[in-house]
């Protein structure tokens, strides 16, 4: 489902096929972009660590949490 999402300049996401709208922040948008480009979870974690200088642990917890939320919303398997 996630590859269908269209995200506008205000970080509002829309999935036309199911008519669902999402509000997100910059980091969420970034992670979704990474997923759409085919990056795996571990690569995304590394990308966040490299870009923001956060700890490995914080990135791991946040990305896992975010994936769980995407799953709950039915956006990923």
């Amino acid at each position: 489902m996630l590859h269908q999402i269209i995200i506008d300049e205000n970080n509002m996401g829309f999935i036309p096929s199911i008519g669902a709208s999402f509000q997100m922040n910059e980091t969420a948008r970034e992670i979704i972009n990474h997923i759409q480009q085919g990056l795996h979870k571990d690569d995304i974690i590394q990308a966040l660590v490299a870009k923001y200088g956060i700890s490995q642990q914080e990135a791991l917890i946040d990305v896992n949490d975010f994936f769980m939320k995407l799953k709950i919303y039915g956006l990923i398997q």
Partner: protein, 440 residues
């Protein structure tokens, strides 16, 4: 670039229009009376109850002013059950309050706090005879709840061979429901009148007061007008029919604090009457219905209104997780065992800094291993950091006195005085205090 934890919310327009936008801004509190919340927690630990003496005094002066501007004879009695930490009680006594107590230990506490015994009002549906006698000997104000108690007082008076002054508690319909009709004598079915007759016919009893407490968190000032009128009518009957001059009427407590009652969607600023409205309702009714030469002294046993907004609970985020329904769950170090009033209030919950991030639907859970340990089941919060501090308020009324020693130790309590100095006024529980009364 500054990192913000990722947030995504599905937008459900039905939900967002009903509960407000998830984008809505969060309230932030970094200090109480000039002292940082982090500083307080570093010094005294978390969770931590914090009371502001400044706020206590402000509320007290507002109440006193509102009534004294309108009425010459006012007596305030601090309702011990609302918060009977000695340091708190003493502030009210220093300000001029007597005490209103409903049990033996509250009575003894008031004595130990040096309240003049005649300034102690002894209320409640159960007063052991030995304490009735103690209160009679001390010339405290006895507010009789039922006929059997009236007989108890009469027999003690007989034994002491003296005439004892009593007041009766009166319950009545004032248009507020549930009707608190389990305490005292009913006005509307004449039970109160019959009690007055009983007193008039007893050589050992004299009626010197009439008391009612119509309930707590009363959002209708007019209910006090009705209550005052009914007490004034009884007072007139006592004088005209039985020649007893009732010195005082006591309107009890019940004025609402600016807390947010569950199920009421408007803000407390909209629904809670001002203290001037309560004062006007009561004092106008006294003037209008007074038929005797002397105005009665007006007693109030205000609790919640005075202390609720002066109390805060600081609690730290210990952990967070994602629940299967998508909500973010925060685990706090303070639970419902120390927040008894969370059952009917949606507290004001403030975060310790501006996270500059989207909020998401969150739930605040306490540390107890119980499903009911929920302090707020739907609050929009930005992703909070571990160890960040939430300030929960108003929590000054009833939470300390009704807190339960359950699973975790009850926390410390700190008072911030007028000069912004902090003082520990209750130590936290420990294993020794928890086991102090156990026997093997």
């Amino acid at each position: 670039m500054k990192y913000k934890k990722p947030v995504i919310n599905r937008i459900d327009f039905a939900i967002s229009s009903k509960y407000g936008s998830p984008l809505h801004s969060q309230k932030i509190r970094t200090e109480i009376d000039g002292i940082g919340v982090h500083e307080l927690v570093e010094q005294y630990g978390s969770p931590l109850f914090v009371f502001s003496q400044k706020r206590i005094k402000e509320q007290y002066m507002q109440l006193k002013q509102a009534f004294e501007d309108r009425y010459p004879k006012l007596k305030l009695s601090w309702s011990y059950k609302t918060n009977y930490l000695n340091a708190i009680c003493k502030i009210y006594h220093q300000l001029g309050s007597g005490a209103e107590v409903v049990s033996e230990f509250e009575y003894d506490k008031a004595l130990a706090n040096n309240v003049t015994p005649s300034d102690i009002i002894y209320n409640g549906p159960y007063k052991p005879k030995e304490y009735l006698k103690k209160a009679i000997l001390n010339n405290s104000k006895i507010h009789v709840d039922h006929l059997l108690e009236l007989e108890d007082v009469q027999s003690i008076a007989q034994e002491l061979d003296q005439v004892v002054n009593v007041a009766i508690r009166v319950n009545m319909d004032v248009g507020v429901y549930p009707n608190w009709n389990r305490f005292g004598f009913n006005y509307d079915n004449n039970e109160a009148y019959e009690a007055i007759k009983f007193i008039a016919n007893s050589p050992y009893l004299n009626l010197n007061g009439l008391h009612t407490h119509i309930g707590t968190f009363i959002l209708e000032a007019n209910a006090y007008k009705i209550a005052t009128i009914k007490l004034m009518k009884l007072r007139q009957q006592a004088l005209e029919e039985f020649g007893m001059n009732v010195e005082y009427i006591d309107l009890g407590g019940g004025f609402a604090s600016k807390n947010h009652l569950k199920g009421i969607y408007q803000s407390p600023e909209v629904v809670v009457p001002s203290v001037d409205e309560y004062a006007q309702a009561i004092t106008n009714a006294i003037y209008e219905y007074n038929t005797s030469d002397e105005l009665p002294t007006l007693y109030l046993e205000t609790g919640r209104y005075l202390i609720d907004e002066a109390g805060y609970l600081l609690t730290s985020i210990q952990a967070y997780k994602r629940l299967p329904n998508g909500m973010k769950s925060y685990i706090l170090d303070a639970g419902v065992n120390i927040l008894y009033t969370s059952a009917w209030y949606n507290f004001n919950i403030e975060i310790d800094k501006d996270y500059d991030n989207l909020t998401e639907p969150s739930i605040l859970n306490g540390p107890l291993c119980m499903n009911i340990d929920v302090i707020n089941d739907n609050i929009s919060l930005p992703p909070l950091e571990r160890n960040s501090i939430l300030t929960i308020s108003p929590v000054g009324a009833y939470n300390i006195t009704q807190s339960m020693q359950f699973i975790r130790y009850r926390p410390r309590v700190v008072l911030i005085d007028d000069d912004s100095n902090t003082r520990l006024i209750r130590q936290e529980d420990d294993l020794q205090s928890v086991m102090a009364k156990e026997l093997e």
